[in-house]
């Protein structure tokens, strides 16, 4: 896809869309050289990148979360930084701080030293091991793509994409992310144990002399162009209504909520959650070579877009309700219209 050219005809657009899908396919293949299995997670990460969102990866240690992000960074020709979140990490360690610096004339003055957040692709590793105060340092950057320090606002270079990993909340030494912080993530992807067959491949690749590396495919400009294209994908009103119905179905105070929703859910999906579904569905459609969004695309991204925005109440937590199962039931039961 040409970085700047706008399609003038349907044929041009069809070519561009084909190229879009091919690029995504190649990127998946490149990541697949390093990351075995986890296709849904890889797809989710790509969709999050192209939908101009941020992605939260959740999984127990050792599943390859960090490696996935590093591989993605390698394949994207983007400036990559990594922050290992720890309990003693301070906000200034992320966004940067003013330091006293002496110039050639010997005069000393305060200079803003950029933190690791100034990157195109940021890996916030084990983000829930930091305190909420430090976690919140990412809020402005993720939403506004700016960083304000000492009254000075510094824009971040586009594209800015945060890939955060977190351990399941039950593990020791974790701080749950605040709702506001969670809502900033377009998707929350869950990494699961690889299948037995995949484990063989993982062992073969990682315990031998040769460690595969991903080849850089996309530039920052290409990413931005693909983002623009994705936003233009048309969504028909009936499809949009379906996404809205799906979002509203998660609200316990809604009109005739499902029994499980009324019983176990404390907070339903926000409008930002429905936005996330539609945006993700657009990229999902384009990745599959379709110019328009369908209800299938909405369904495909519903769980990643909603699972961190829908919060269980005390009863749901006490009964250990699986939120994914509950949401999947909703997706299956909401009429397509």
């Amino acid at each position: 896809m040409n970085d700047t050219a706008q399609p003038r005809t349907a044929d041009d657009l069809a070519l561009q869309l084909t190229e879009f899908a091919d690029r995504c396919s190649r990127l998946r293949g490149e990541i697949g050289k390093v990351i075995v299995g986890q296709e849904n997670v890889v797809d989710g990460a790509i969709i999050g990148l192209l939908a101009d969102g941020h992605v939260l990866l959740e999984g127990i240690p050792g599943l390859g979360k960090t490696r996935l992000v590093r591989t993605l960074a390698q394949a994207l020709h983007l400036r990559f930084n990594r922050i290992q979140f720890t309990p003693d990490l301070m906000p200034a360690d992320i966004v940067g701080t003013h330091v006293l610096r002496e110039d050639e004339t010997g005069r000393r003055r305060l200079v803003f030293e950029r933190g690791p957040i100034f990157a195109n692709l940021l890996l916030a590793d084990e983000i829930n091991r930091a305190t909420p105060k430090t976690q919140s340092a990412l809020l402005e950057a993720m939403q506004e793509t700016t960083v304000t320090v000492g009254g000075e606002t510094n824009p971040l270079d586009p594209p800015f994409f945060v890939l955060a990993t977190q351990n399941p909340l039950e593990m020791e030494g974790t701080y749950p992310l605040p709702e506001a912080q969670l809502d900033r993530f377009l998707f929350k992807l869950r990494m699961t144990y690889p299948a037995t067959g995949d484990l063989h491949t993982i062992l073969d690749r990682t315990t031998s002399g040769h460690t595969p590396e991903a080849e850089a495919l996309w530039t920052a400009e290409q990413v931005l162009a693909m983002r623009r294209a994705a936003r233009l994908a048309p969504v028909a009103r009936p499809v949009q209504e379906y996404a809205i119905r799906l979002g509203l179905a998660t609200r316990p105070e809604g009109d005739r909520p499902a029994e499980a929703v009324r019983r176990y859910i404390r907070i339903g999906a926000s409008p930002r959650g429905i936005q996330a579904m539609v945006l993700g569905a657009k990229v999902h459609a384009l990745i599959r070579g379709r110019p328009n969004v369908s209800r299938e695309d909405i369904r495909a991204v519903a769980l990643p877009a909603l699972r961190h925005r829908v919060l269980l109440n005390f009863e749901g937590e006490a009964e250990r309700v699986d939120l994914d199962d509950l949401l999947q039931d909703l997706v299956d039961s909401v009429p397509e219209g």
């Binding site: 005809t9 349907a10 041009d12 657009l13 793509t145 048309p234 028909a236 009936p238």
Partner: protein, 497 residues
């Protein structure tokens, strides 16, 4: 999330793209419209699968109601038919309204059938927006949705049309006739069959069903409505007989007001009795009065309707009079025996005193009995009239039901319990009663109170034999039956003492 790419200039439309889009729109509309027509046709046929049987059912019900109304009721009896017809019409209109044009539904059906991933639905919305003044691009009305660049519109239209050509209306709606159509047609045939049969055949079965009797068991000339019309209990203050109680061909008596002629004859009878006494006859005054009235009644009934009147009186005499011959206070065989002697003249004169009713039964009996008990007050106008006609003396209020004392022994307590299929009076709350037994007891009770002599005749004429059981009756009639049985029980106890 920041909006990237927002505010960038959108390429202008080219004439070629416009023409291509217009052609694609036309093809898209044609395809979706064809699918919509086929969908509506299928929907209409599907609605017919239940509307047609409903209409046939309504037709059959109307026809049956018409038969019933023609036989026994006014046209107003057809109101359920009109109401049903109105409901049916409303349902039909609702289905017809649902058959309106629905292109989005057709597009959705195409998407599903052709696995088009909502391309048809999106294209349909695009072509609709292109028809608007803003052309779907300018965003004049933000509420109408996002702004779509022309290349995207053209591409979506093209893909949708390609998918539509590949799928087509026939593949989208492969089967027009619903699966239930055969079943529905069968039901319609079954429902219409009675209408198609000869009217007389169905009419007989219907008449039998409405009467509650098997076909052929209805007595010739039986007319329940006529019985109701002539119900003597339709007097203010007198409980009205239930329709089910009237559902028997029992005898109905109608007592009319005595006229001058009746009074004259009654006076003659009294004079004759007194005269025979004055001539030195040995008969006692009271007996002579009774004999004279009774003989007069016998003479009248024999003359007027010898079969029914004579039979009835004979039966009454046999039951009520034979046991009291020695007392000589009640009419019966003694009275009729003596009427040949001193009361013969009176009999001639009194014969016209009792007036026969329409069916000729019982009027003689009324006058005769009234003559025997002329010194007791009557309890109702009808009875008093009858008594007055018999003897022509005393005020009407003093007349009594002549059958009152005849009916009590008509059924013994044991017979009554047997008729009601009861082993004891208390069992009346647990066992089902039948129309017949209830009718009988009800009539007897009414007669005891002297309010319905006509009805009582049936009870007495039946000789206490329980007719065949019919339908269960309403619980409210059990009170009447209970009262009657208790009266019988009290009478039996008195007799025992």
């Amino acid at each position: 999330m920041k909006p990237s790419g927002a505010g960038r200039p959108i390429p202008e439309r080219s004439d070629t793209a416009e023409a291509e889009a217009a052609e694609l729109r036309a093809r898209l509309l044609r395809g979706i419209s064809a699918t919509d027509r086929r969908l509506r046709l299928r929907r209409a046929l599907k609605a017919l699968t239940w509307l047609a049987p409903a209409a046939c059912l309504w037709l059959l019900a109307t026809w049956l109601l018409g038969l019933g109304a023609g036989a026994a009721g006014p046209v107003a009896a057809l109101w359920p038919s009109w109401a049903g017809g109105a409901v049916l019409l409303l349902l039909f209109l609702r289905e017809a309204a649902a058959l309106g044009r629905d292109l989005p539904a057709a597009a959705r059906a195409l998407d599903r059938a052709g696995d088009l991933h909502d391309a048809a639905a999106t294209a349909l919305e695009m072509q609709r927006r292109m028809g608007e003044p803003s052309g779907g691009r300018q965003g004049g009305n933000a509420r109408r949705g996002a702004v779509w660049p022309l290349p995207w519109i053209a591409l979506v239209l093209r893909r949708a049309v390609a998918g539509l050509d590949r799928t087509g209306p026939r593949r989208t709606v492969p089967r027009l006739v619903p699966r239930r159509a055969l079943l529905s047609a069968g039901i319609c045939l079954v429902l219409l069959l009675p209408v198609a049969l000869p009217r007389s055949l169905v009419g007989e079965a219907l008449a039998a069903a409405m009467s509650g009797d098997p076909a052929g068991d209805v007595p010739p000339g039986f007319d329940a409505a006529a019985l109701l019309e002539d119900d003597p209990n339709r007097i203010p203050g007198v409980p009205e007989l239930d329709v089910r109680l009237s559902d028997l061909p029992f005898v109905t008596l109608r007592v009319r007001e005595p006229d001058a002629e009746d009074r004259a004859r009654g006076r003659e009878a009294t004079d004759a009795a007194e005269g025979s006494l004055g001539d030195g006859a040995e008969a006692e005054t009271l007996d002579a009065t009774a004999e004279g009235g009774d003989a007069a009644a016998n003479a009248l009934t024999d003359e007027t309707n010898p079969e029914t009147g004579a039979d009835l009186m004979r039966e009454l005499d046999n039951r009520a009079g034979t046991g009291e011959e020695e007392k000589g206070a009640a009419p019966g065989t003694e009275g009729s025996a003596e009427s040949a002697d001193p009361g013969a003249e009176a009999g001639e004169g009194d014969g016209s005193g009792g007036q026969p009713t329409e069916d000729g039964e019982g009027s003689g009996a009324e006058s005769g009995s009234a003559a025997a008990l002329s010194d007791e007050p009557g309890s109702s106008d009808g009875d008093a009239d009858g008594a007055a006609a018999g003897i022509g003396t005393g005020p009407q209020e003093e007349m009594v039901d002549p059958f009152g004392d005849l009916l009590v022994p008509a059924l013994s307590l044991e017979q009554a319990l047997e008729t009601a299929l009861l082993e004891s009076i208390e069992e009346i709350e647990r066992r089902p009663l039948t129309t017949t037994s209830a009718t009988q007891f009800r009539a007897a009770e009414v007669s005891l109170r002297g309010t319905a002599a006509g009805v009582a005749v049936e009870a007495s004429a039946s000789g206490g034999e329980a007719p065949a059981a019919r339908r269960p009756i309403a619980w409210r009639h059990r009170d009447s039956v209970r009262r009657y049985l208790e009266a019988l029980q009290a009478a039996a106890e008195e007799d025992g003492e």
